[in-house]
Symmetry: C2
C-alpha cells in the first residue's frame, strides 16, 4: 500500500482538527482510498499543544528545515495563517519537493502567483480548498465541475463571524457592539475582530474565488470592501418589514462592462436562498452560462469542517500522480486587458431622518428623480422617533455615483432631511 | 495545443445541450483550459436532429463501430439513456480505448461494476457526474472533496419532475392528476411519467450516490421505493398547517444498525434548507463526521445544466492523464458484510377518517401507545369533511413495523376510524 507522510505546520484550531481527523480515519483511508496517511512531523512553537494531542516528542520538529529534509514527509499542511513566516515555510517545502496543502486565504490571495510558480517548477501539488469557506466545496467545484461555464456572477456569505453577528442582531434586536461581545465570548469572533468585521477575510476569499471564476488574477486591491461595524439595528428592523435579510455579501460579476468584485453589507430578499443562510453557516451562490444557478452551503469555519477540506486535499494529492494548477493565468496582477467596474449598479435602501413629515417625501423624490433614481418602495413613519421622522426609501437599480450625488444634495438642503443609512439591495 | 475529439451518442435534450455548449465555448476552453475540444462525430438515428444543430453530414456516424474506429475520437459521450443499446455502445467505446462520459443513471446504477472493470482494463476514463442531479456537483464533491469523511447521511430532492409536481400542488391546491397534466404540457414530465413519479429515477441516483458515500455497492434492489401518485392534496394542506413541506426524498443513512436507502414522499420542517427547494430545483444535503452539514443546490435536469456537468467531465478527462475510479469496491453486489436496515426509524404523519369525533382520539392514542408510538402533535377537525371527521396525528420517532401494526389494528376496530394516509416525517 502507498504510504504518504504528512507534516502539519501550526496546531491551532484547524491544525488540531486536521490532526484528529487523520489519526481517527487512518484505517478508513487505508481501506477505502488505498493509501496509508501518517502524520510524520509537526511544527508548533507551543509544544504543549502537540503533547496535548498525544503527539510523540520526536515528531515535533525544531524548524522548517528539519521538515524539508525529512524524506518521510511527502505533503506539508500549512495552517498557520498570516503571510509570514507561512510564506517562507511554504516556499521552502515546495523547493524541497513537498506538495503543499494550505488553508491560508491571506497568503494564497496575495502570493498565489509565487507559490504556484514554485510548485510548477518543483512538480509539486499545491492545494487550497480550505482557504475559502471551510467545509463548503467551492474551489474544487469551480476548477473541476463548473469549468465548462462562463461564470456570470457569484454571491457569497463567506465569513462566519459576521454572519453570526448579523443573524443574532436580527433575531434579538441587539446592537452591533452588544452582539460582538457575545460572539467574542463564544469564540465566534477574535479579541481583535478587524479581519472579520471589516471584511478583509471575505475580501481575501473573494479575490481567490473570483480569480478562479473569471480566469484572470483578481488582486486583493481591486476588491471594494466595506465592513459591518456601522450597521444600525434600526436598519435591520426596517429591512425585515420590507422582506429583506441583512448579510455581509461578497459579490463577483463578469459582464460586458467588466469585472466587479465587492464585499459589503447588503439587503437580500427573503425568498433568495442566501437569505436563509444563518448563524455561522456560509454559502456561495454561483451563476454560470450553462449550469444556471448553483448554491453550495455549509460550515464556513471550524476545526473539523475546515479540517475536512484539508484532508480532502491531502487524499487527492496522495492518490493522484500529476497535478493541475489554477485555471487562470496566475500572475501577480490582473491581465492588462481586464476592465474593472467601480460605479456599481444596484438597488439601494436609504434611511433618512426628516425634521418633519410635511413635504419631505416629495422633495426627496424630486432630488432622486433628478439623478435618474426611481423609487420602488417607501416606509414613512407617522410619528417622530428620537426627534426625527424616519423615511425609508428603496430604489430601483441605479448607479452608485448617482446615489452618492443624490445623497450629497439631500444632505445639503437646509431643514429637509439627513441621510442616516445607505445600504445596497441585492435581488 | 492538445486536441481532443469528442463523439456524442444521442442528440436528445442533453446531447443537443452538450453539443451547443462545446461549440459555443471552443475558444474559451482553448484560452482557459489549454485544450481544443472538437466534436468529431455524432450518433443519432434521427438525422434531422443533427442537421438542425448544423452538424455536417460527414460527422454523422452510421454506427458505433465507425466511432470506435475513428482515431480522431478520444472521448465518447453517452447521453442516450436506458440500458440498451447504451451499454453495448459504452463497452465498445471503452474496449476501443475511448474514455466515456455518461449521464445515464440507469446504466451506471445497474452496470457500474462492468463498465468500471472495462475502463480499468483499457486504462480509459469513466465519468458520470451528469448521471446524478444535473448541474449539481454532487459526485465530484463526494469523490474529491468529502472523501475524508465517514458520510453519516444524505437526504436529497433529486428528481425535478416530482418536485415540480409537489410544489405546484402545494402552491395551487390542485390534485396530483391535474398538476401532472400541466407538467406534461410544459415538458417537465414525460408522456409516460412512471420513471419519475414512481421514484425509479431517484432510486437509480440514490443507488449511485450512496455507493460512493458508503464505500460499498448499494444495488438498486436494496433501495426502498415509493412514488408520489397516491399523494392527496388534503395531506399537503394539513402538512402546511403543521409547518411542513411535502417532498419526494431520497434518504441514505449509515449507522451502527447498518445502511438504509429509501425513496419516498416525506414531510420536512419548513426550517430545514431542503424545504425551500422548489419547482424543478434539486438539492442534496449531506452530513459527514468531519464536515458536518453541506448542501448542494441547483438545476437537477435540463439541456444546459446537465450539459454543464457533462462538459465538466469532458474537460477534466481532457486535462488529466491518469484516471481514478470509484472510491468503493465496485462489485455487482453489496459487500457481504453490509447490513441493510429495513425497519426504518422515522416520525410519522397519519390522517384518519373517523366516523365521529367522540372518543376517537383517546382510542387511537391508546392503540398507538400499545405499539410504543408516542404522539407529538394532533389536529382534530371540529366538523365532518366529506362525511368523516379528519384526525391528523404526528408521532415522535418510531419504527416502521410498529406503525404498520398500529395502523392495521386501528383499521380493524369497527366504527372507529380508517387510516387514510401514512407519510414519513423527516426532521
Amino acid at each position: 500500500m502507498k504510504k504518504v507522510g504528512v507534516a502539519i505546520l501550526g496546531l491551532g484550531v484547524v491544525g488540531s482538527g486536521t490532526y484528529k481527523i487523520l489519526i481517527e480515519h487512518r484505517e478508513f483511508y487505508k481501506k477505502n482510498h488505498g493509501v496509508d496517511i501518517n502524520v510524520e512531523s509537526v511544527l508548533e512553537l507551543k509544544t504543549e499543544r502537540a503533547l496535548a494531542l498525544g503527539i510523540e516528542e520526536n515528531k515535533i520538529a525544531a524548524n522548517i528545515a528539519e521538515i524539508c529534509s525529512n524524506p518521510e514527509v511527502d505533503i506539508v499542511v500549512e495552517v498557520m495563517g498570516g503571510v509570514e513566516p507561512a510564506k517562507t515555510f511554504v516556499l521552502a517545502a515546495l523547493n524541497a519537493g513537498k506538495s503543499v496543502v494550505t488553508s491560508n486565504k491571506e497568503l494564497f490571495c496575495k502570493y498565489s502567483h509565487e507559490l504556484e510558480k514554485t510548485a510548477r517548477k518543483n512538480k509539486c501539488g499545491l492545494f487550497y480548498e480550505a482557504s475559502c469557506v471551510g467545509g463548503v466545496p467551492v474551489i474544487r467545484t469551480l476548477i473541476d465541475n463548473l469549468q465548462g461555464n462562463k461564470i456570470l456572477s457569484m454571491t457569497g456569505i463567506i465569513n462566519g463571524t459576521t454572519n453570526f453577528i448579523l443573524t443574532k442582531m436580527s433575531d434579538c434586536g441587539a446592537s452591533y457592539s452588544e452582539v460582538l461581545k457575545e460572539a467574542q465570548r463564544l469564540g465566534y469572533a477574535e479579541a481583535d475582530p478587524t479581519a472579520d468585521v471589516e471584511g478583509f477575510d471575505a475580501a481575501y476569499k473573494l479575490s481567490i474565488l473570483s480569480s478562479l471564476s473569471f480566469h484572470t488574477k483578481i488582486p486583493f486591491s481591486k476588491v471594494y470592501r466595506e465592513g459591518i461595524t456601522d450597521i444600525d439595528i434600526h436598519d435591520i428592523n426596517y429591512g425585515k418589514r420590507l422582506g429583506y435579510a441583512l448579510k455581509l455579501l461578497a459579490v463577483g460579476k463578469n459582464s460586458d462592462s467588466g469585472i466587479e468584485v465587492r464585499v459589503h453589507p447588503a439587503f437580500i430578499k427573503n425568498s433568495h436562498p442566501l437569505a436563509n443562510v444563518n448563524d455561522s453557516y456560509n454559502a456561495v451562490y454561483i451563476t454560470g452560462d450553462s449550469v444556471e444557478d448553483v448554491m453550495l452551503y455549509g460550515r464556513g469555519a471550524g476545526a473539523l469542517p475546515t479540517g475536512s477540506a484539508i484532508v480532502g486535499d491531502i487524499i487527492y494529492c496522495a492518490t493522484h500522480d500529476n497535478f493541475n494548477y489554477s485555471t487562470f493565468n496566475n500572475t501577480e496582477k490582473a491581465d492588462p486587458s481586464t476592465k474593472f467596474v467601480t460605479n456599481f449598479e444596484s438597488a439601494y435602501y436609504l434611511r433618512l431622518d426628516a425634521k418633519d413629515k410635511a413635504g419631505v417625501l416629495s422633495k426627496v423624490s424630486s432630488v432622486l428623480s433628478k439623478h435618474n433614481i426611481s423609487v420602488a418602495e417607501v416606509i414613512q413613519e407617522n410619528r417622530k422617533v428620537n426627534g426625527v421622522v424616519p423615511l425609508i426609501i428603496v430604489t430601483h437599480e441605479t448607479f452608485e455615483k448617482n446615489v452618492n450625488k443624490a445623497v450629497d444634495e439631500i444632505n445639503s438642503v437646509e431643514n429637509l432631511a439627513k441621510v442616516a443609512s445607505v445600504i445596497r439591495v441585492v435581488s
